[in-house]
């Protein structure tokens, strides 16, 4: 069993699962009914991607199922980026967070398509179509909120100021990343940081928003060091399977 491939795959699934879980919390809470449906679609895509990654992990592991991976690991074993676990806060906050991550995922999956691991490459081919749509959605809203009313501009600027500190982590590589990059399977995200920045800058100009200066960046997701609300997210998600370990659902 290739433990490195297993952990790398689970990591990719974690980002999708955690963001999917956050997005699903918008159900019946959207600013319009149409938007409720759009956000649910995004959440479904993300859960689908998580399932694809975890199903591949199940094959590699040959012991734990995709559901075991999702529902039976402790919070500190999850290795998602911090940015995806941030609380939704308000619609503007969600859009800004999603926009940064969607830009990243788009560039990431573009490169994952070329992975020497066929399973991961296949997942990337399918997922990038969904991510293109997510990016379109978050970009459109970023612009409408940034260039809407004074109030909306203020709200998303505040959100941006708060979220910016979680963006550097997207481009940090740890030992596992380095190993997977060197064997042709993984993606070197540090390599596309400037491309990401250009995409982001372009949209921010149109949205009349500014990047905050002198930000102290925060990371720790890959080491299992998560934010305060993460434990609650995981415990809510895992509650039933943990309470009834012998039950099948």
């Amino acid at each position: 069993m290739d433990k490195n491939l297993l952990n790398y795959t689970i990591r990719l699934g974690d980002n999708c699962l955690v963001l999917g879980q956050r997005m699903s919390m918008w159900c019946s809470n959207g600013p319009t009914l149409e938007e409720d449906i759009a956000l649910a679609n995004i959440s479904l895509d993300l859960f689908g991607q998580a399932t694809a990654f975890y199903s591949f992990a199940e094959e590699i592991d040959n012991k734990n199922t995709a559901d075991d991976i999702a529902f039976k690991r402790d919070a500190n074993k999850f290795s998602n980026y911090l940015i995806v676990e941030l609380e939704n806060t308000n619609f503007g906050f969600t859009i800004v967070r999603n926009f940064f991550f969607d830009c990243f995922q788009f560039l990431f999956y573009e490169r994952l398509k070329k992975s020497d691991c066929k399973n991961l490459s296949d997942i990337a081919y399918k997922s990038i179509k969904e991510v293109k749509y997510h990016l379109r959605h978050s970009t459109n809203w970023l612009i409408r909120l940034g260039d809407g009313t004074d109030q909306s501009n203020r709200k998303v600027q505040n959100a941006l100021n708060e979220i910016w500190k979680y963006t550097d982590e997207l481009f940090e590589l740890d030992d596992l990343d380095q190993l997977m990059i060197s064997n042709g399977v993984g993606v070197d995200s540090s390599e596309f940081k400037s491309e990401w920045k250009n995409l982001v800058d372009k949209a921010l100009v149109e949205a009349k928003l500014k990047i905050p200066q002198n930000t102290k960046m925060i990371s720790g997701g890959k080491q299992g060091k998560h934010t305060n609300s993460f434990t609650e997210l995981i415990s809510e998600m895992q509650h039933i399977p943990r309470k009834y370990p012998d039950a099948k659902w």
Partner: protein, 95 residues
């Protein structure tokens, strides 16, 4: 505070390449980009679309039902427009 009501858009979906667009309903959106995306999310979740049109409801021009007699009845008695009106000799093919 801006007035709450947003624009209503009628949605037409082409389910497969080659077929005509069909009216499926309407939705609310503030601009055409949003309208198109909302239509995609609302009306094509079950793989029912290859092309979407959205049109502002206020741009639709409709015939009035009180005019339907004058508009549509005259076409009722011009059977010579239908191929079945014509008697063909037995045995004649491809005509």
């Amino acid at each position: 505070m801006l007035e709450e009501n947003s624009e209503v858009w009628e949605v037409f979906i082409q389910s497969k390449n080659g077929l005509a667009h069909k009216h499926v309903g309407n939705l609310h959106a503030s601009d055409k980009k949003m309208a198109l995306e909302n239509a995609r999310d609302l009306y094509t979740r079950r793989n029912e679309g290859s092309c979407i049109w959205v049109v502002k409801s206020t741009d639709i021009v409709s015939s009035e039902s009180e005019d339907s007699e004058a508009f549509f009845d005259p076409s009722n008695d011009k059977m010579y427009r239908h191929p079945t009106f014509y008697k063909m000799p037995d045995g004649a093919k491809h005509i």
